[in-house]
Symmetry: C2
């Protein structure tokens, strides 16, 4: 291994990780890290919680300081230093020392780009005239929002964009006693979830008093930001605007240097995370990655990939060529008392790709129902109708969702099918799970579908079927039926099916449903064996009802 000079642009998740790993691998390599801001290695993901006061000390956000990191890792860290050009022929970067006129060049053997992504700022009439508008990416942004709140004590805030940063900001502002409205262009929050799963979160968010404006957008900012005019014609009086309408790769530097770009102005890289210039690597939020499940190119600006890629690139540069196998898109957000999480492909993606798939919804308890504290969760799985490979999964609930999504992400990584999910021997004692864990249950339900022990219809088909006058059979108990049912459904409690099946038509498809799917499945089993043509509402009335809210 030759002594090398590695220059890194960006000193946070991807950049700082690459730097640390480089030094661990080699005491010889010269490491120069340029960071435009004054901080390195800060906890981007903690910023909303510092604003809301959950994280009390600002210092906790700084995982490293330039001084400590330089000393620990013997590296040359230059903050407030923006790289303004990459001079590929000379293998140098041009650096501007911010707050001064100093501009200089620094040469490299290998260059790592980890410039991240910046908040996307939509063009909204009047937005530039509103001094109460903020985006959130780094510590200075955070300080600005915090001091604005301290000085102006806003009564009302509007969050534009319902992605995870928007949701976290809505929650944290609400924690501060601010009335929050959230405006989201699409019909749901947290785009990575499918609609009916996001609907559960939406219901919860509204129950906390946050106003949601879905399928809507801000058309105009009036005055100095005191009033917002929405596309729907509604108006919102507001004292504070948080723009969290997504992020876009910081690829201008790469573009100007003539490096190949991917979709959405991402930096294109090969499996070793090399750009079109073999001496320049790129990692993190700025790059295009391969979706492990679909094989398609995608853009996943999250911390795990940035950290992972940073380490991989350090290995590759120092001779241990390691490929990045792509991104699953595992993501999670705390949304008040709920958790929403996902891994792999969702239904929207599969539909876009035209991939044939099946899906199952279940509503298990987080742990044994008889042990205190068990909470229901909604789990959804998407899998191949051919061979049962798992394409993706989503979970929403109060407790234990993160665990199940991590198990499912691991299963996808291990190439496990839904049949294998039934075989996962997960840790069981009453405070933690059930003897058949929710993930096992996903495996059971899905394999029943593949083996044609169960045929289902989906929540989004119900209204259409009702309109068409299809035959519905409600197998819940009397009390449940009384608090709402599908219009015109016939009612026989599941335990009476064997005695009363002669009341049912043999010449029609019977659309069974129960509360969550299990009793409907039992009725399905009995009736199908009795020669009826049946299908069961996947996820039951609960899934349907959540999506309709």
């Amino acid at each position: 291994m030759n002594t090398k000079k590695v220059v890194i642009i960006g000193g946070v998740a991807g950049g700082a990780t690459a730097a640390a790993r480089l030094r661990r691998l080699s005491e010889q390599v010269e490491i120069v890290l340029f960071e435009r801001g004054e901080h390195i290695s800060f906890a981007n993901c903690g910023l909303p919680y510092y604003i809301g006061g959950t994280i009390e000390e600002r210092d906790k956000l700084l995982l490293q300081t330039p001084e400590k990191m330089s000393k620990k890792f013997n590296m040359d860290i230059r903050t407030r230093s923006e790289v303004v050009a990459i001079n590929r022929e000379r293998k140098t970067v041009t650096v501007k020392k911010l707050g001064s006129d100093e501009i200089y060049e620094k040469n490299y053997d290998k260059l790592i780009l980890s410039p991240g992504a910046k908040p996307f700022v939509p063009t909204i009439k009047g937005l530039d005239k509103a001094p109460s508008t903020f985006t959130l990416r780094n510590i200075p942004d955070t300080d600005k929002i915090k001091s604005y709140i301290n000085m102006h004590n806003p009564k009302h805030a509007t969050v534009i964009g319902g992605g995870f940063i928007g949701l976290e900001m809505a929650e944290n502002l609400h924690e501060l006693g601010v009335q929050v409205s959230l405006v989201e262009r699409s019909r749901q929050v947290m785009e990575a979830l499918d609609f009916e799963m996001a609907a559960i979160l939406q219901d919860h968010i509204e129950s906390k008093g946050v106003k949601l404006f879905l399928d809507d957008s801000v058309e105009e900012v009036i005055g100095q930001g005191e009033m917002l005019l929405l596309k729907s014609g509604k108006t919102l009086e507001t004292d504070l605007i948080i723009l969290s309408a997504g992020v876009q790769p910081e690829s201008n530097l790469a573009e100007t240097a003539g490096l190949a770009l991917g979709n959405r102005k991402t930096i294109a890289v090969n499996e070793f995370l090399q750009t079109s210039d073999a001496d320049i690597y790129a990692v993190g939020d700025a790059i295009e990655v391969k979706d492990i499940v679909s094989g398609q190119d995608c853009f996943v600006p999250l911390a795990w990939p940035a950290n992972r890629q940073g380490r991989i690139v350090a290995d590759s540069i120092l001779g241990k060529k390691t490929s990045y196998r792509g991104t699953l898109g595992t993501a999670i957000a705390k949304v008040f008392d709920f958790t929403g999480a996902t891994t792999g492909n969702n239904e929207k993606v599969l539909q876009r790709l035209g991939k044939p798939y099946l899906t199952a919804h279940i509503h298990p308890n987080s742990h044994a129902a008889y042990y205190p504290g068990a909470k229901p969760m909604a789990l959804k799985i998407l899998f191949s109708s051919q061979d049962g490979s798992v394409y993706g999964a989503q979970g929403v609930g109060e407790v234990g969702v993160d665990k199940r999504i991590d198990v499912l992400a691991t299963a996808i990584k291990g190439g496990l099918s839904v049949y294998d999910l039934s075989e996962l021997e997960l840790a069981y004692a009453p405070p933690y799970s059930s003897a058949k864990d929710p993930v096992n249950m996903l495996g059971y339900v899905s394999s029943n579908m593949l083996e044609e022990n169960l045929k289902t219809y989906q929540w989004h088909e119900v209204d259409r079927f009702v309109k068409k006058g299809k035959y519905f059979l409600d197998v819940r108990e009397k009390a449940e039926v009384e608090s709402g049912m599908i219009k015109g459904a016939y009612h026989i409690p599941v335990d009476d099916i064997r005695e009363r099946h002669n009341e049912l038509p043999k010449d029609k498809t019977i659309h069974i449903y129960c509360h969550a799917g299990l009793r409907g499945y039992l009725a399905f089993r009995t009736l199908s064996q009795l020669g009826f043509n049946v299908t069961n509402l996947d996820g039951g009335f609960k899934t349907y009802q959540m999506a309709k809210k």
Copy 2:
């Protein structure tokens, strides 16, 4: 599929699950379930918590009643009915109706044995004369213990046996305000963990005021149980004795019927869970299973295997032959505020099998340290020194241990190696994890060992090395060193290593250590590249210290 008569012996985890699945698969099959007790489908695992009052309603323990289950699944459930013989030639069982003189035969096409395991009762002098002695297996046992406590208001209880039932009973009795002593023959509780991991639990248990007598046993029960004489010579005054010294398979029926037995009087079965008589299947606590990791026969009396096997057997009987691929031994227990969990093989097993392995210990936080509520946990992994396959893992801590063990169990099932653990894309947001999840970290540390970027020594070698006068280097900060260090260690804080390495000997192996392993690793990297002969204490001073307590 012919109409079949299936007889099931035992109506709880394995038996009731098999029965339910049989009916779901076929409306034709005749199902007769015999249960000696008066309850079926009860929550065995909830019993200790009902005694302690965490579970308040006794009814919650009954997941099904014979009446409801008969109706829902159209089956013939006979409680208080003990099968006293299997007449293989006639394909009948002889049944004794308890509380009456009635004895009759019932014929079967297929027979499923799910008789479970019964508490092992060691021969202790005087034990039979102590009316305050109880074992815990079922609801009547529970009622007896509860009413004894209500009537006698014991001040002190002795739990004999530190397996998970013993630990749960110790906790639950303590919750009731009873002073508890726990006597365990081996030198640790929770045998499935390795010693240093169990030690963390032991420390915690003692911090709650429960007295532990490890490496000790009850030699004699004096009087009517008021006094216990221990092997160590110690005596214990006690008002209540809980015997939880392990369980043994209920295989007498099978044995008498001439079915082949395995080790420890388990019922021997093939991969389809058929006994030596092809028409007789056996599942659950009573059978011998294959250890998935080692391929050895073993006995794992837990609820997940019983439930899984019950379902598999129903499938096989109704024509969908399904094999049971063996048991990983994933297990978990809540121990006061801590969780102890394990999957796969532990060090004791690997040593017994003579398998070459490596191990790594880490002490990560349950989630990002800057977000409130993060708690440290101890994680241990065991893996192949040849190819990095994961043999097993253990975790002890307050939060998030169950999640990591489930992920690791899934990884083992998926055949993932420690390298793959680094690639697991787990759900990250600050309340749930870190951008490098603890499981990723296990992957990183382990692959560093395999790639010889890190060489380690173990906690149990320290004292020996000290005695031999080996050279130790403490790289922690001054304040840490002052509160205790390895005798005679030299001290250089990690960040000063590059400046002060000339103080270190080149002719000796330097035994580095820090608090948890990370800083020692950094020092290792620097010093090894400077030509020093170094090794790092795996899991750091923390692991060593815990094991020494």
